[in-house]
């Protein structure tokens, strides 16, 4: 009788149909492509209304994403950080934790990498580069440590605390780049140039495809290992059924803290890549929107190795293509943002049940009707 109510709330574990798996796979594929189709069509309509030819626009976008060596390099250099953040966030997501703090951890990682690189300014590159990578990762971890402990020991909702720490990071970097880290000659807030011995060089000249992109490959392989590992399995089990995991001796605190630290470390690494590879300096906006889009990529990729890769490439291509479209055809790149947003909307409908399931445990500590549970 209460079917509206029952739908999302109760998983019908009683007798799941034998054919569920196939059916959900086909529906998932068709809804995914439907989301893409809707985004493309609605995006095209918006272009029409704003007086642009959608075919020209999409052509320019495709060309700007894949059409040349430069375009490819651009797509990859944008997809790599998204994938890295995506993989780290996916580890937490699989354990049932929703961290949305990658943005702040990228900022912290960039600062950490810069400071470490400056400390190792005279060391050989073989030392300075890995040292700065570790520095970035450690700062990223430090940035999530307090939210992780709050969640583990006091059940403080990690969505809120990680978001709060993103705000802290934004304020901190603003302060640092206006004061202690700002070179006397600079007018706008920024750091000294990144030390030469720590720079991640270009793989292909004339593009922005730098060696930092390979970090995404390493992180991707590490993620594949994690998913297949015994430890990763126990974390996934915790995400699936925390009560069962605890009864099997899996420590709740350990899962919570470690998986959040892993996500912090990967976001920190991205800070390092952006500072040492792409921008070669630290700016206030160094994290761009990577933290948030990385989260989106993790969600849309279903927190799986292949899914995150595809989603990161898709968003990398859209971003590279959007900018190219603006410069070649004069069509505003914000149209590409709209398409990204439409995609996000479409996919989030597709994944609504999972998202609800994932958030339910977290939200159980709070009620929407303003009553505090005993």
């Amino acid at each position: 009788m209460t079917d509206v109510v029952a739908g999302g709330e109760r998983g019908e574990i009683e007798h799941a149909p034998a054919g569920t798996e196939e059916r959900s796979l086909t529906t998932s594929l068709s809804t995914s492509s439907l989301a893409v189709l809707i985004a493309v069509v609605v995006g095209g309509l918006i272009m029409l209304f704003s007086g642009e030819n959608p075919l020209t626009a999409y052509g320019a976008m495709l060309d700007g994403a894949f059409g040349s060596r430069f375009a490819l390099g651009e797509t990859l250099s944008r997809a790599a950080p998204l994938a890295i953040v995506g993989y780290g966030t996916a580890v937490a997501l699989r354990a049932g934790l929703i961290t949305i703090g990658a943005q702040g951890q990228v900022v912290a990682g960039a600062i950490g990498a810069l400071l470490t690189a400056q400390f190792f300014e005279t060391a050989p590159s073989a030392v300075a580069i890995p040292a700065a990578a570790i520095g970035g990762a450690l700062f990223g971890m430090a940035w999530v440590l307090i939210p992780a402990m709050l969640r583990a020991y006091f059940s403080v909702n990690e969505i809120l605390s990680t978001l709060l720490f993103t705000e802290f990071a934004a304020l901190l970097i603003e302060y640092l780049l206006n004061n202690p880290l700002k070179p006397p000659t600079a007018i706008t807030p920024q750091s000294d140039p990144y030390p030469d011995n720590g720079i991640l060089g270009l793989v292909i000249d004339g593009t922005r495809f730098h060696t930092g992109v390979f970090a995404a490959v390493i992180i991707g392989l590490a993620f594949i290992w994690w998913v297949r590992s015994d430890r990763g399995f126990s974390y996934d089990l915790y995400g699936e059924n925390p009560n069962l995991a605890q009864s099997l001796g899996i420590s709740s605190n350990r899962v919570i803290i470690n998986s959040l630290l892993i996500s912090g470390a990967t976001a920190g690494l991205v800070g390092w890549i952006q500072a040492a590879g792409l921008l070669q300096r630290v700016y206030v906006g160094i994290a761009s929107d990577i933290g948030f889009f990385g989260l989106v990529v993790a969600f849309l990729g279903g927190a799986t190795a292949g899914g995150v890769l595809v989603a990161a490439l898709l968003f990398g291509a859209l971003q590279a293509g959007g900018l190219a479209m603006q410069s070649s055809e004069g069509i505003p790149a914000s149209l590409s943002d709209i398409i990204q947003a439409l995609l996000l909307l479409g996919f989030s409908i597709r994944y609504a049940p999972q998202i609800i399931r994932l958030t339910r445990g977290v939200m159980a500590n709070f009620t929407l009707v303003g009553r505090k549970r005993r």
């Binding site: 079917d3 149909p17 009560n243 099997l248 001796g249 005993r374």
Partner: protein, 516 residues
């Protein structure tokens, strides 16, 4: 779906089902089923797990479609294509898994999804309505308490109350008593009788035959999707015969208890106290269980059983006392409990399994950290599947498919899967919480045998259950929990209904009652 099937239903008959069939892949869940619900009757629908009872209920409620056949409701042709349509026609289906929203109050649930819901939620009116119905039926359903904070029995009453308030003309209760204690079941029976006298006919689905004599007027038995007894009068029915018809093997109901040699003490619980935010917790429990011994813990649901089960398996911090297994203190550490050989059959199967994980992953989950199944930290899928196959074979999990999702198994097989995981090695202590709850007789027998086998192999077994028959079948010794304390303790030969009833209702002097 066509007019020539069967005779035209008598006008006004609350429900008439003619020739309904439904197939799920290879399973013919319902095969040409006829079923008639008469005015003012409680009609029991019985059958073992997988017989098709829930499928029939869902078809009547409109949540799934039949492949063929026809139905009529109060004389009108009836073809619901959704649960909402069924509800609008007056069919209320209280499911095995209750479907109230847990973070809302009863009054809020009353209004949510209501067919004739007003556009604006009037909290006062909703509260008054809940209170009115609750009074009318003599229930204690609180209007303003969150569903989450209510015991299962009250939740169930709330769901029935909401169904009635929504104007149900016909009620289907799917295994409503499977999680209730005796007193709660009595209250449910009284409520059903009350509804019947108000003119609401009820389809009552159950595994428990004894309660039907008191409850129901007529009885229909399903076996493997076919009707084997159609609407027999319950007073004339021989329950042993019905049981035979259900399962085709009456000896399953007779527990032949093996002789078990009692050994030294393996589980010692002293002055155990646990506080629980949602329940009563436990206070000052003392008992010991020897090798080969089965201790039954009975009590009305919600009297500290959950806290005790959690404490014995190391899942909660104790507020006092200690628990030792073979002399090792396992208090408050699930890891140590596992290392000491404590096995746990969870009360709630959905809690005891990782539903979306494979059978193999579930069967071998106690081996997390076992190097035998990993190489460089990576799980060796082949070795795990091979080992899972052995367990599936030993514990007769069906279908024998390591890659199948745990959620795709039937309840009985999920229980076997949990047993396979927990009982692979002979446990030092087995904590079995409602081990045969909701299982058909055959699956229940398999679980009972597992408990006996664990005791025979030298384990100390604790069976916690609200089902007195289950405890009577298994236990050598019984303790009774009431509000988290032990109110009586006796050996199973001394168990009488009077003594049990008094202890469970808290009428026994508690002083000095201990488990030994």
């Amino acid at each position: 779906m066509n007019s020539e099937t069967g005779a035209a239903p008598a006008s006004g008959t609350p429900l008439s089902v003619r020739g309904v069939s439904r197939r799920f892949g290879a399973v013919q869940a319902l095969d040409d089923v006829d079923f008639t619900l008469e005015e003012g009757e409680i009609h029991a629908l019985v059958g073992e797990n997988g017989a098709g009872k829930s499928t029939l209920a869902k078809i009547v409620a409109g949540s799934i479609l039949s492949d063929s056949g026809s139905m009529s409701l109060f004389g009108e042709p009836y073809q619901p294509s959704s649960r909402r349509e069924g509800a609008a026609a007056g069919v209320a289906h209280v499911r095995q898994q209750l479907s109230l929203v847990r973070g809302l109050t009863v009054a809020q649930n009353l209004q949510l999804g209501r067919p004739d819901a007003p556009a604006i939620f009037n909290a006062g009116a909703a509260r008054a309505e809940v209170e009115r119905w609750s009074d009318e039926f003599g229930l204690g359903v609180p209007a303003e308490t969150l569903i989450d904070d209510m015991p299962l029995a009250i939740r169930q009453q709330a769901e029935i109350l909401i169904a009635v308030a929504w104007g149900a003309r016909l009620l289907i209760l799917d295994e409503p008593s499977s999680a209730l204690g005796p007193l709660e079941t009595q209250a449910l029976i009284a409520l059903c009788h009350r509804l019947r006298s108000e003119g609401t006919p009820i389809i009552y689905i159950s595994h428990r035959l004894p309660e039907l004599t008191e409850l129901a007027d007529r009885l229909t038995v399903l076996r493997a999707g076919k009707v084997v007894v159609a609407g027999a009068d319950v007073r004339d029915a021989d329950l042993r015969e019905v049981a035979t018809l259900m399962i085709g093997d009456v000896t399953l109901l007779e527990v032949d208890r093996p002789e078990i040699q009692r050994g030294s003490i393996r589980l010692a619980v002293s002055d155990l106290s646990v506080s629980s935010p949602h329940g009563v917790g436990c206070h000052g429990l003392d008992f010991e269980v020897a090798a080969g011994e089965i201790l039954g813990v009975v009590g009305i649901a919600g009297n500290g059983q959950d806290s005790l089960a959690k404490a014995l398996t190391g899942q909660v911090k104790l507020t006092g006392g200690r628990i030792t297994v073979d002399g090792t203190d396992i208090s408050g550490s699930a890891g140590q409990a596992i290392a000491a050989g404590v096995a746990h059959i969870h009360e709630d199967r959905s809690n005891g399994l990782a539903a979306s994980f494979s059978v193999a992953d579930n069967a071998t989950a106690r081996h997390i950290g076992n190097r035998r199944f990993t190489s460089f930290g990576v799980r060796l899928g082949d070795k795990i599947a091979l080992h899972a196959r052995e367990l599936i074979e030993r514990f007769q999990v069906r279908p024998p498919e390591p890659a199948a999702k745990a959620s795709s198994l039937s309840g009985g097989n999920q229980q076997k899967l949990m047993a396979a995981r927990e009982l692979e090695q002979n446990p030092a202590v087995l904590v079995a919480h409602g081990p045969t709850k909701g299982l058909d007789p055959e699956a229940a027998k398999a679980m009972r045998d597992r408990c006996f086998a664990a005791a025979q192999a030298g384990g100390a077994v604790v069976v916690i259950s609200a089902d007195l028959d289950e405890v009577a079948d298994l236990a050598h010794r019984i303790i009774v929990l009431y509000r988290g304390v032990v109110t009586d303790a006796f050996s199973s030969e001394d168990m009488t209904p009077e003594r049990l009833g008094a202890a469970m209702a808290g009428l026994t002097e508690t002083s000095g009652a201990t488990g030994d």
